[in-house]
Amino acid sequence: MNEIFSVPMNYIMVGLLIVLAIALSSVGWVVLRNRVMFMIGVRNIPRRRAQTVLIVIGLMLSTLIISTAFSIGDTVDYSITSQAYDRLHSIDEIVQVRAGDDDDEGDPFQVSSLVSAQPIPSAEAERLMGLFRAVPGVDGVVSVIRGPVPVRNARAGQTEPTVILVGVDGNAMTGFEDDIETLGGRRVSVTELADGEAYVNESAADELDIRPGDRIEVFVGGQPATLIVKDLVRDRVLTGAVFGVTQGIALDLPGALLVGGGPDEIDLVAVSNEGGVRSDLTRSKGIAAALNEPLEGTPWRAATTKKNLVEQAAEVSSFMVTFFVLLGLFAIAAGMLLIFLIFVMLAAERRVEMGMIRAVGTKRRHLIQMFMSEGMAYNVLAAAVGCALGIAVSLVMVRIMAVLFAAFDVSIKFHVTPRSLVVSYSLGVVLTFLTVVFSSWRISSLNIVAAIREISDSASKRPGLWSLSFGIAGCVVGALLMWLGWVTELAFPFGAGWSLFVVGGALVLRFAGLPARPVFTAMGLVMLFFWLLFAGNNVPGVDRLDGDIEMFFLSGVTMVIAGTFVLVYNADLMLALLTRVGGRFSRILPSIRTAVAYPMANKFRTGMTIAMISLVMFALVMMSTMNANFDRLFLSDEAEGGYEVVVTENPNNPIDGAVIAAVGGTGGGGTITGVDDVRLANNRVAEVRPKPKGTEETDWEEYGIAGPTESFIESNEVTFDIRARGLETDADVWAELARNPNAALIDSFAVITGGFGIGFHLDGIDPTKAVMDPVTVQVHDVTRPEIVREVQVIAVISLKASAIYDGLFLSPQAFDAVFPEPESSVHFVRLAEGADSGEVAKEIERSMASLGAQADSLRDLIDEQQQQSAGFLYLLQGFMAIGLFVGIAAVGVIAFRTVVERRQQIGMLRAIGYTRGAVALSFLMESAFVTLLGVVSGITLALLLAFQLVKTDDFVTGGVDSFYIPWVQILGIGGFALVASLVMTIVPSRQASSIPIAEALRYE
């Protein structure tokens, strides 16, 4: 992982180390210049050990989250990179039929590209390979054929529909000597194979329970060929492993040609650069360019395969870190609030001491130095603990990720780089340092007399000039940001500007003398309404503003701040209500009264804690709710498009739909009522691009192109989210596709914005509108570049159905014209009412085992996809839930602090008749009350925002019919927060109830 937020990690590390050095130097300066202040600060640390532990926990949480995010990024980077190196091994470049205009595109890891659309005649390949060997830096060139075949292991009774059969030229293995190794690490060669012998790779052996010496049957064109397994070898590209399908069989080139029965052609040429498996990738581009010189004018091209994969690994890991950091921002923000709260409470505890220190002649800056020294002492320790715990947390998460990623054939192995540790530690220390300095500056302002006499500092409660200054600054900066957002059409500055403007306005009104409650209540409500309207696209004009995941954070933070102000400034209403309710339980009423009165009297402290808990709850509930509603889109029958089973044929063994129907008529018990086919173009040669405007060139891009048959067009029930003007119904769209030879349909994913830039994106269709103007695109087959067909996209397949029906669907005429020889077909099977799609799929697969047909229940496929995405989202939620510990720690810090702070009052309560139990209950209820406010606030705000978002066209065109709330998850998360907070309060509440009365009353 080399970049995050598009900034090189090395720059980030150096920058952070510089800031860290400045932070440490400033403490060093205090040591040298004001040793006394430093000593006062540091000697406070061991005074209360339990409190010190809590402070360290509080300070480390931000670092923990950062360190977890970076460790996961490193792990993903390492795992994918390792897998790329391991699979490709000596291969650096691959020469095969071209795909896409970008030289960096193209890799050997797409299942759909397993059949070469344009093989290289052997004689031509020999000529080219001779030229390739002469390219400086190349140390090996080998010709390869490969193709998917079904394989049966008769001994074990196991059949696998898709195994990659690879044939390599054993006489040209120079440079690839290590690529075929037994599981024991012994280097072997295909030249050692006798006739009828083969190597089977580890994945195929696992899947089919194959052992050396086993006889296996390979089916090509439905005809079996028997091979004897000489040995088991490691999963490599030259032994058949690619992404998606790892099972493979390796043979010598002539043997493979014999089994395949094909013409004397090869599918690809693998090139190895000097330098071994981890050769210098920077040379790859130059070597590929040299390889491409003799390929000029041919359909083949050399791609920098290994370099591409390693770079993709870095991109994926950078994306993962960015994503985790962005989602972790809620917890990091809560962590910073906690640090601030901790220092404010420390200052409250030491108010008398601070007053005394000021009284003897020190200045405000000395107090800042004192707190800064103490804070940094905690900080350097806490950040180290946070880093270590972050690694521990990521170890757990990586185990879960390993299970989730296995479905995508990615083997996850934990890895963390020293650079990430340095960055995490430095970032943690720097963030905490900045928060500590700000906190110290705030708390160092005190009235000396009031502090010494322990009376309230009434002067500080009146909004002073700072209120006016900040207010005006907020309004001005807010207005500028709004303008900037409007001009640049970016939602983030606009939304942030509006919120800042409202806060600024409230501060100005406070300075003008208006009471706090109406001002801050109005401020909160205005912000809340704005964000809810904004999210629902109900603010005129703002729907043109672009926003991405950063809006999730901004809306969350501002809504939580707004909600907290409304809550805290209107809590007395709650007190009255609770008193009334509590009146029914007169025995606990006194405990309720004090439990509510204390937090409501200390608005700042309570507000901070509510905000911390609310922030994290907001993020978790939003994620759960949006995910649950998204999942439900795919639960409806619409996602299946009118079919129950899909049969994917092996390109080497084409199947007629009628054969599948016959299965239904016999083995399926007559449950199959129809089979409709969709033909697929070879992915490596099927390309699409928007129609160039004038002389402007647009790049061709690989994309799945499908040709539905007439029977599919007539019978399917696939629906559309967006239709061209004049096409009123889904049936109109299908009728138009049947009638108009230049019509085409496209899936939703190609149209949706914010798709992280993965895959082909079609501009010109607004995914938030149900009506579109047709968009013209061009399609072609790279092996016949002279045929370019223009088609008009007339509708966008519904998001619900796009998981199954993805790609560009051409009219039958257009598909035939451009792709007369499709790679394969998929067969969609309709079943009789009540038939078990899973069972029918199994029956089809059994019946067609020798053809390598793969049949799946569409419902099972959709459920599997949803489970995978849900699993990943649960992982993210788990990561975000770390933030809950921030809120819980805050509750604990406050509870411990209040026992000290209220010692005398507890004595008085005990004197007038509070039993020990009543005191303990009061403490527990106080924590529960604050936590509950945070939990309820977070849940409410998240549900309101989610409701608004789900109802908009941004979520799905036309919005959803009903809003689903995942109550079990939400209540589970809220319940956990509540119970954990209560557990944190048990010790301090027991301490409070055990305080000796007489001693407490004497306590000052």
Partner: protein, 247 residues
């Protein structure tokens, strides 16, 4: 002010003693130090009497008050309050006993800063299980007696020192306790406010026959009690009855 020396302690026979303490011993122990705060103190108080406890700092006045009121445990001796041996009561029973029988007035008021005056006053009633509406009615009446009814919705921080102490008195008296304990009740007040507070205490003592035990440094406060008990080094060294006309 004229003080008279009592010829002998009040006889137990025929006298309704609300407090009867015998040979009370209290020792504080820290890591290496042992402080004998009360060294066999005996003291009796008839119902309705106002007793002042005086003595130099550290002589054990507050400790005696804490022990007599059940706020602190004793290491030896016997304390009967209304004929109940409070040291034999469990912590909960003793707490309930305090809630029903006693009121407290302290130097620094010890009002809960987060509650309003009326809420502070009604708290002992709620603790005793009185219904909220009834508690509110009685609290208003108590505030009325200390002339603070209109200040009921104010928090302690919004009141003067004298007002706060009057709220404390209202809280101490709201459940009509048999005994009110005062630890320097006028210690934080100016002369005028101190006088007003003592007027109130005397008024309640006369009208309701409530017993007051007041720890004080102020001779003028002690002089308004019926009897003054002098302590030194953890022992009662002298008692004086105050001239009736003054008390």
């Amino acid at each position: 002010m004229t003080l008279t020396t009592p010829s002998q302690p009040p006889s137990r026979n025929g006298v309704d003693l609300i407090i009867d303490a015998r040979d009370v011993v209290k020792t504080y122990r820290t890591d290496s130090v042992e402080v004998r705060a009360l060294r066999g103190v005996s003291m009796s108080v008839p119902r309705g009497e106002m007793v002042a406890i005086m003595g130099p700092s550290g002589c054990g006045k507050t400790t005696l008050l804490n022990c007599l009121s059940g706020l602190d445990n004793i290491d030896g001796g016997l304390i009967l309050i209304n004929n109940e041996d409070i040291n034999k009561l469990s912590d909960n029973k003793r707490t309930e006993f305090r809630a029903r029988q006693m009121g407290f007035v302290f130097q620094f008021y010890n009002l809960l800063p987060v509650l309003t005056s009326i809420e502070n006053v009604e708290l002992p009633l709620l603790v005793s299980g009185v219904k909220p509406a009834e508690a509110r009615r009685q609290a208003e009446a108590a505030l009325d007696l200390v002339h603070l009814r209109e200040w009921g919705k104010h928090r302690p921080a919004q009141l003067s020192g004298g007002q706060r102490q009057r709220v404390t008195i209202a809280r101490a008296l709201v459940n009509n306790p048999a005994i009110v304990w005062g630890d320097e009740p006028t210690g934080d007040l100016d002369t005028q406010n101190a006088n007003e507070i003592m007027d109130l205490i005397q008024q309640f003592n006369r009208q309701h026959n409530q017993t007051f035990v007041i720890v004080t440094h102020a001779p003028e406060v002690a002089a308004r009690c019926h009897r003054i008990v002098y302590m030194k080094d953890g022992q009662i060294v002298r008692e004086e009855a105050v001239e009736a006309s003054r008390a």
